[in-house]
Subunit: 281 residues, 4 copies
Amino acid sequence: MKLNVLTEMEYTAASAGTLILNIHALRTPRQTVISEEFVIDPYIKVEELVSQQSDNRVFRFEIAENSSIKVSYKATIDNYCEVKDYTNLVEIPIAQMDSTILPYLYPSRYCQSDKLYRLANNLFGHIMNPFEKVMNLTGWINKNVQYLSGSTNAQTSAYDTVTQQQGVCRDFAHLGIALCRALTIPARYFTGYAYQLQPADFHACFEAYLGNDWVLFDATGLVPLNGLIKIASGRDAADTAIANIFGNVNFTSMLVSCELAEDGFTPFYYHPTQLRGLTYL
Amino acid sequence: MKLNVLTEMEYTAASAGTLILNIHALRTPRQTVISEEFVIDPYIKVEELVSQQSDNRVFRFEIAENSSIKVSYKATIDNYCEVKDYTNLVEIPIAQMDSTILPYLYPSRYCQSDKLYRLANNLFGHIMNPFEKVMNLTGWINKNVQYLSGSTNAQTSAYDTVTQQQGVCRDFAHLGIALCRALTIPARYFTGYAYQLQPADFHACFEAYLGNDWVLFDATGLVPLNGLIKIASGRDAADTAIANIFGNVNFTSMLVSCELAEDGFTPFYYHPTQLRGLTYL
Amino acid sequence: MKLNVLTEMEYTAASAGTLILNIHALRTPRQTVISEEFVIDPYIKVEELVSQQSDNRVFRFEIAENSSIKVSYKATIDNYCEVKDYTNLVEIPIAQMDSTILPYLYPSRYCQSDKLYRLANNLFGHIMNPFEKVMNLTGWINKNVQYLSGSTNAQTSAYDTVTQQQGVCRDFAHLGIALCRALTIPARYFTGYAYQLQPADFHACFEAYLGNDWVLFDATGLVPLNGLIKIASGRDAADTAIANIFGNVNFTSMLVSCELAEDGFTPFYYHPTQLRGLTYL
Amino acid sequence: MKLNVLTEMEYTAASAGTLILNIHALRTPRQTVISEEFVIDPYIKVEELVSQQSDNRVFRFEIAENSSIKVSYKATIDNYCEVKDYTNLVEIPIAQMDSTILPYLYPSRYCQSDKLYRLANNLFGHIMNPFEKVMNLTGWINKNVQYLSGSTNAQTSAYDTVTQQQGVCRDFAHLGIALCRALTIPARYFTGYAYQLQPADFHACFEAYLGNDWVLFDATGLVPLNGLIKIASGRDAADTAIANIFGNVNFTSMLVSCELAEDGFTPFYYHPTQLRGLTYL
């Protein structure tokens, strides 16, 4: 499905600083960047950084003291996600798992899976099919955690959310990841653009490694999963911040949009009694 | 300097399981593995895993239900560390830092640098030379945190240690890393063998990225820095666990040793008034 | 029911210090101290402190530098607890609650009820009868939290236990209290002697304020509730520590026992489908 | 010094509820309530609650479903605080401390002194005079913690503030209390009206028990200490909330003021090199 995405952000620098932005759509076998345009006004030279661990595309540039800039990113993306049936999912033993997958089993800044073993196993340990496990934990988060703008901050982690049961998409994703890892299911953070997200913003959800696929899950249930455009994945939000800012530089405004670029979109949501999931690379 | 290192560990498996061991000395331009031997008794087939992000060498194998094994690793290693003067250290701007270094600026499971900005800057922000900054924070940890075996556990993080001021080498390292990152100095966890560590055990310390070097710091002050043999580096202990165990497998005994394999060792410790550091790649 | 209780504790003082012990059985309308004997060997003058907020009886004395003492407390207690039916429990509105009860609604050191509102209400908010609410939350703790000696320490709180789901009687009690308060049910910590506790030790559980009664609940399920002898109640363990030690004084050994002093004991445990509770003043 | 204080608060109730307000000036030997008026509009019957543990005066009333009220409290208070010299302060041994003081040595919800022993002793343990100790720790908080409106919330505790080093008056007070208790100095939370506080609001600071006095300390340094009118004291903010609200009742507006009612006010602030403190009962 073709989608048009757009980000406009303004920054004002009191001191000279460096920005690392993570807003470009990812290029993967399942997601084609048909066209894109990235402009900083006034012009600043930008460097694209290649990540060793992932295909994430981040852009770094310097901003001068006492200056203001407007960054805009506009792209048309084609997204070939796939709905698969996981009824007969065969679990991959740790002993056969690719070594690049293993780091997604370990705890990270916002996903302290090491503290959630008993809880995760008490709640979901009895479920045999790993896809069903993740469906169930996603449903549990959706049911118990209240989506509440402004209720959490950049330091809130899965350990907070599992008890305080309030948060935004980022917190829902972190908790989903932490519960997966506590169940020995590799999981990673997904940040992207989301068609039909209200109000428009960047979105976060997560991917669990099931069979040989990274399967997408979104505990917020806010958007159709096939309307997502991936920006980056990582261990958690610490790896995939939209912007890393060094210096006294302030973000002053932001506009995000994600719209269909062609007809024929059929929204896909998970169905609690069907073991069908969406893989997205 | 040539050193002989040895690890012997015994495991008993109640259920079938998978172990991933991280006890092999790293092969780097500054550390040569002259000879090594890795034996599991009784024999189990072992797979060496290559990490994408690092040169860490981890070994994975399966252990059968109701079995006991003895793992032994024996090696002779040559360690070409270098003492450098950082008096005129030129700080590398974020804008010029290699993209592989950037992840070591971000918070991780045990190093919540995002919570320590004010504290780190209040204590060390006034120091200009970055080497001196890290020397000072290392000295502050050494002075304020009490080395106390058994006082912490696998969930203890830098956020705990900065206040509770007790811990073991792992906690000293995590706090050092978190303070560095809070000061916008990339830092990573170092795990290795340590000559003259009493009682003998694996050791942990950390590396800060200064100039274009990873420079070694050890806030415990327990061992000469030039007697270390590196096993692995990573964001923190979550990346570099000695053993990751999947299944009901219990560790029953361990022996570690690290001894000189040649004469002429002159212990090198940092001197508080000299800006000389040890780089170890 | 008459019970004989006994405590013997030994302390060694490296420096002069002060001890405040909280091991005497409480004197209440429902618990008679038939006889008791409190001896410190060698003799030290002891002062009984009266608490303003409670009937707790604590004993304070000074211990000399470089000395060792043996404290023993022996008593015969009669315990008139009462089993009541709470099927038709009428909830007391906050507006009519005695002002001495209100502090037991507020969060305390180990019972951070303010962080558990959503969780408590998601789990138990739908239950109408407040006795049944507390029965259910006690059952939930018993089912989900693993009793594991040594798994927690003096800093562990309800906020830890609700997620990590392991602990000892103190942790079970703190979590019960925190969940009650989050449901606007006053609750307090109970420390005492417990008949049939294996291994013999002091015990902790909690009381919820239901109707006009403080009703006893024990999420551990380890002992019959009518075999308890109350030492103290308070907001949580911070109020009711067995010993508060000031100075470099170390506890070296302890012996606790609680035995029947008459025949005819019928153990009383709560039954999940009966709304019968035990009040104990 | 005579001061006029005023509070106006508006509440809207979606459901029926109960409010417990803690806004009346305390009546003590050192603080006389010359006149006061407490009005709820429209009229609601109010009950004054007497605290067992303190002289705090709290007022409880019920609010009807779908109603809005305006509460106003207006009073003229005379405040006989006393400046004393603590140069020759004799510390009171725990063994001689009144039993009503002891609870202020123990950790509480927001003042986890049990986690701060090493830190407090590393920073302030070497200071002999207890008044000087508290002066120093107050100065340390003032220097290191940034006063930043909105940076913390109702769950923030001293354990957070000691590391994150930002907060409001409540956080400054909690940290002061926690450090005192960690140094075996009893300390309690003080909430009141404050002359010259900008912007006008309720204020929080703390009292340390030194000699036989409760001595006032304010780590924020925002107001002259002799312009304070005490509302309540307690272990921490959990004991002394301005309002405890039960039911779906929302606070919609607030106005607070505190003005001189007579001439001749000489602002008193602590002087870092003088051991003179203000006691306020």
